[in-house]
């Protein structure tokens, strides 16, 4: 899968390199805020955390912002509003699941009809990934085609291999162009060590989601009512999900704005007439599951899920999508 040859460097050197290549760039990386890790724009590489659990947010919001202005009404008429694309950005230490999520949302936003804002932000941003040494308690990336050592969606992948050494993998040309030739070639011992760590990391993924073969058959089942009973219809799962991408377009004064929206919300599918084809809670929860594990796969060939586990971890009532999806065959078939 990987593109070029893997190289190895020490932490200090890697730091220096990151510092020099991110010169003049907007840097986005993991930082600790009030004891929890978040991806945030940072001042410099020195602010970035190197060792962190799954961040609260993914990197989605830097490509699909919570609020993006699409148009502005001016005295001379309506003017498209573009993000500043001349400015380069670098995302540091994206976890493999979050980076992979970009490849999933790319299919929607950069398919036949390319989205102006998303496209621009994708184009000017280099994604530097960091492999997971150990999976978190909610992770299930292996079940949906990902891996703690995955590199999809990254331009460059970095993996810690002990003794403050790091393996660099130039995943894309852009990554290579950005980084140049750095480090020394990884020897076979290092490569073997790398494979051992990878295996260990993959083994640390404790959770498995069994995705039913025939989800559509369960559509009319009362199962959805049962599993969604406690759901609060809030937007935690969708807003923290690295692949959820629903939005609304609203006018705010002189601006036409795109902002996040979610299938959980009461207003999401309500028509102007007041009619709502998904008026009940279970219909909305079911929609979320089906969108991820049925419709998206049908439309784009992949699941709309990277197995990061955020939706379960942060759900205020601990609704566990892994358990719910995995049990469809057993309990959900009519």
């Amino acid at each position: 899968m990987s593109f070029g040859e893997k190289t190895v460097l020490g932490k200090d050197e890697l730091f220096r390199i990151l510092k020099s290549i991110s010169e003049g760039c907007e840097i986005i990386g993991p930082v600790m805020e009030d004891g929890k890790p978040y991806f945030r724009p940072v001042e410099g590489v020195e602010d970035v955390a190197w060792d962190f659990d799954t961040t609260v947010n993914g990197i989605k919001e830097f490509f699909f912002p919570r609020r993006s202005v699409l148009y502005e009404q001016t005295n001379d008429g309506i003017r498209p509003f573009d993000p500043e694309t001349d400015k380069k950005r670098i995302v540091l230490f994206s976890r493999p699941c979050d980076a992979r999520a970009l490849t999933i949302t790319d299919r929607l936003f950069m398919g036949e009809n390319q989205d102006r804002v998303y496209g621009a932000l994708r184009a000017n941003t280099v994604v530097v990934g960091l492999s997971c040494e150990k999976a978190g308690p909610h992770c299930f990336c292996l079940s949906v085609g990902g891996s703690p050592f995955g590199t999809e969606g990254m331009d460059v992948s970095i993996t810690a291999v002990g003794d403050d050494e790091y393996v660099l993998d130039m995943v894309t040309d852009r990554g290579k162009a950005f980084f140049g030739n750095r480090g020394r070639k990884a020897d076979s011992k290092r490569l073997q060590e790398f494979e051992t760590l990878k295996k260990r990391a993959e083994e640390s993924v404790e959770r498995t989601m069994r995705i039913p073969k025939d989800l559509p058959s369960a559509f009319e089942s009362d199962y959805w009512k049962e599993v969604s009973a406690a759901c609060l219809k809030c937007g935690v799962c969708t807003y923290l999900c690295p692949t959820c991408h629903c939005f609304d377009i609203v006018d705010e004064g002189f601006y036409r704005v795109r902002c996040w929206d979610t299938c959980s919300f009461d207003t999401f599918s309500r028509m102007a007439s007041g009619e709502d084809p998904r008026k009940d809670k279970y219909m909305r929860y079911r929609q979320r599951v089906y969108h991820k594990f049925s419709y998206y796969k049908e439309n784009f060939g992949v699941y709309g899920c990277v197995g990061c586990g955020r939706c379960t971890k942060h759900c205020p009532v601990k609704t566990d999508i892994v358990e719910i999806v995995s049990s469809v065959d057993e309990k959900g078939m009519p």
Partner: protein
């Protein structure tokens, strides 16, 4: 304790006193979750421990789950949850005879790090009100209640306006407008939240720091004189906004201004629906 809870639930479901029972259970990961039981056979799913933090009264107004008109519902309440229930009754959202209240004595809930929740330290109602509940389960706990000093509120109040704006700006910048705080709140029972109405639109739905500022003011204002500090909003917030501090600011303001504490009396209405001719005037220009 859990035995008695199961027993009570079983009895109520068995003799038809209730058609649905709200309690605490566990999911596959071992996390505590709300459970909705319809059959007496299901009562083994009930659990009780120090992670039963949820305020189940929130579900009493959740029309997707419960139609109180269809028959009585049993619900487990802790002393703190009971306050929300009293407000719900006073605001005609729940009729007392539509529910069976199983009060459970609580000796403080714990967070994921096994620390006792800060709200539990100053809680004055570890023992549910026996005159209000249908049954109370558990031995009455005798304990010294820590005086609530509102130090969290006072810390903010000690800042100058610019510092305060910066502090809240930091938090509201994080806010995703996922509305978990609102949706988990037992008192946010509106059919359609004012924030979702758009003719006129009160706050734009996009999650910018400025918009979020007004969203949080509205949320806090609408809970003024009603909030019982159950802390569910803060617990639900995925990005760690100290929502209780905001709520508690208003609880303190209501206490200082109107000598009112919400959730004590199922007959009492919010002090904003009352007045005294000699209310404070020092803020008048």
């Amino acid at each position: 304790m859990i035995g008695k809870i199961r027993e009570a639930a079983k009895r109520m479901l068995d003799d038809g006193t209730v058609r649905l029972f709200l309690g605490y259970g566990k999911n596959g990961l071992g996390d505590t979750v709300p459970v909705f039981l319809k059959h007496k056979e299901d009562v083994e799913a009930l659990y009780w421990d120090e992670t039963c933090r949820y305020n189940l009264t929130r579900y009493l107004t959740d029309r997707d789950v419960i139609c109180l008109e269809e028959g009585p519902v049993g619900v487990i309440v802790k002393g703190c949850d009971q306050k929300s229930l009293k407000v719900l009754i006073s605001e005609k959202q729940v009729e007392r005879d539509e529910i069976r209240i199983v009060g459970v004595v609580c000796s403080g809930m714990k967070d994921d790090n096994e620390e006792i929740l800060s709200k539990c330290g100053t809680c004055d109602s570890w023992n549910p009100d026996e005159t209000f509940c249908d049954i109370v389960i558990g031995q009455t706990v005798e304990r010294k209640i820590e005086e609530d000093e509102y130090s969290d509120v006072e810390e903010v109040e000690a800042l100058d306006p610019a510092q305060r704006e910066k502090l809240w700006g930091k938090y509201f910048d994080r806010c995703l407008r996922c509305y978990a705080c609102r949706n988990v709140c037992p008192l946010c029972y509106c059919k359609e939240c004012i924030l979702e109405q758009n003719d006129p639109e009160w706050v734009p739905p996009s999650a910018s720091k400025e918009n979020n500022f007004y969203f949080h003011i509205i949320r806090a204002y609408h809970l003024t004189g009603r909030c019982t500090d159950c802390g569910e909003c803060e617990r639900a917030c995925p990005v760690g906004i100290p929502l209780r501090t905001i709520n508690r600011k208003m609880i303190k303001a209501v206490k200082d201004g109107f000598d009112f504490v919400a959730g004590k009396d199922p007959e009492a209405r919010s002090p904003l629906t009352r007045f005294r001719r000699d209310d404070r005037e020092d803020f008048i220009t």
